[in-house]
Symmetry: C2
């Protein structure tokens, strides 16, 4: 998708029209200290893009439909699958101690727990610090005991907008979301296979990438 | 700043010009199955915005200068001070155990350590997990012993672009940056006062906010 930027004069024209509508091109030209001819290309752009409307014998008015906005469409085109990274998974019987080692080895903030390819839980750095503060022996307790368990985990799917993932991260105050694919087990219960994850890191990386696209 | 979106036909024209440049308006009209007159407004917009260049007696070519892009300027206008949040600070003599309590009470990922209002260090969740895995008594060891010490902390200033903060977070693989103000102590050494922080959470929140601005 291409987006074009308005010139300072075009933005000034929009301001003037918003303030004085309806306003004729003569009036605009006089306020801007330029000739009508000089304004013609700008007015052409602004009407052709639907930002301004030209009412014959009345003048220019500001178009109510915000057809020219904006980043929203661009951002909504980016999907979870475009930004997700590989999830780090462990078995629920892994000890807390070993799970923390995995956390460091893979340099991630959240581990996902699976059972036969099905997502059953998640453990974050926060959970690990909490358990470490107690007197529990981390070599003995399995990660399955301290994990947040499905269905209490907020998930996204690969074709969701990345934007939705960012919203869910903020709304539910989590660092990371599993990207899941729905399927059904033998008893026809809904299950979720984990295929990726989206974290605040992925969103920050995306933000950096958007800024690079000049 | 206003940004306008190109119509699907305008985007199609750009594609055709990129592929077949130089191309005349007759050729474009025939490829798009429309009359030359119907194309005139689109070509006017595309040349006036500098996306296409009209070479007399040759045809339209794609302009090399990417004057019409884009999100970059918009994103660069957002400053660190627009998105930063309050830093949570502790004294370097605070025990690791108490520091972790602060971390949870304030629900943050990083604590900053100051001495007489001067930033001297930072401790992250990762640092806390590392120390918790050892056999150290967290009630005895002060946070000053395990912190990352200045000048090894990546900082930003309040008038830097938020974008720079995001870049630094990604480049240095940290969760959070202190926002600092430079000053000088009695011996004229450079010191930094901490006035805020920017984390991946702030960047994610900003991303959500940008998407809302439709």
């Amino acid at each position: 998708m291409d987006i074009i930027k308005l010139s300072p004069r075009q933005e000034k024209i929009i301001e003037l029209v918003k303030e004085h509508a309806p306003i004729t091109s003569e009036q605009l030209a006089s306020k801007l200290n330029v000739t009508r001819a000089a304004l013609r290309p700008d007015l052409a752009i602004l009407t052709m893009t639907g930002i301004l409307e030209a009412k014959p014998k009345v003048g220019y008015i500001y178009s109510q439909k915000p057809s020219y906005s904006l980043l929203y469409d661009y951002i909504m085109e980016i999907k979870v699958k475009d930004i997700m990274s590989k999830p780090v998974m462990v078995d629920e019987n892994t000890t807390v101690y070993d799970a923390i080692l995995y956390l460091f080895l893979n340099d991630v903030g959240t581990l996902f727990i699976e059972n036969n390819g099905v997502l059953i839980g998640a453990v974050s750095r926060k959970d690990f610090i909490k358990i470490a503060m107690g007197s529990t022996d981390m070599h003995k307790i399995p990660v399955g005991v301290i994990m947040t368990r499905m269905p209490n985990i907020v998930c996204v799917q690969k074709d969701d907008p990345a934007y939705l993932a960012a919203q869910k991260i903020m709304e539910h105050e989590v660092d990371s979301l599993p990207v899941v694919e729905k399927s059904y087990d033998k008893s026809k219960n809904e299950t979720f296979k984990i295929i990726g994850k989206v974290s605040k890191t992925n969103i920050t990386r995306l933000f950096v990438k958007i800024g690079e696209s000049k």
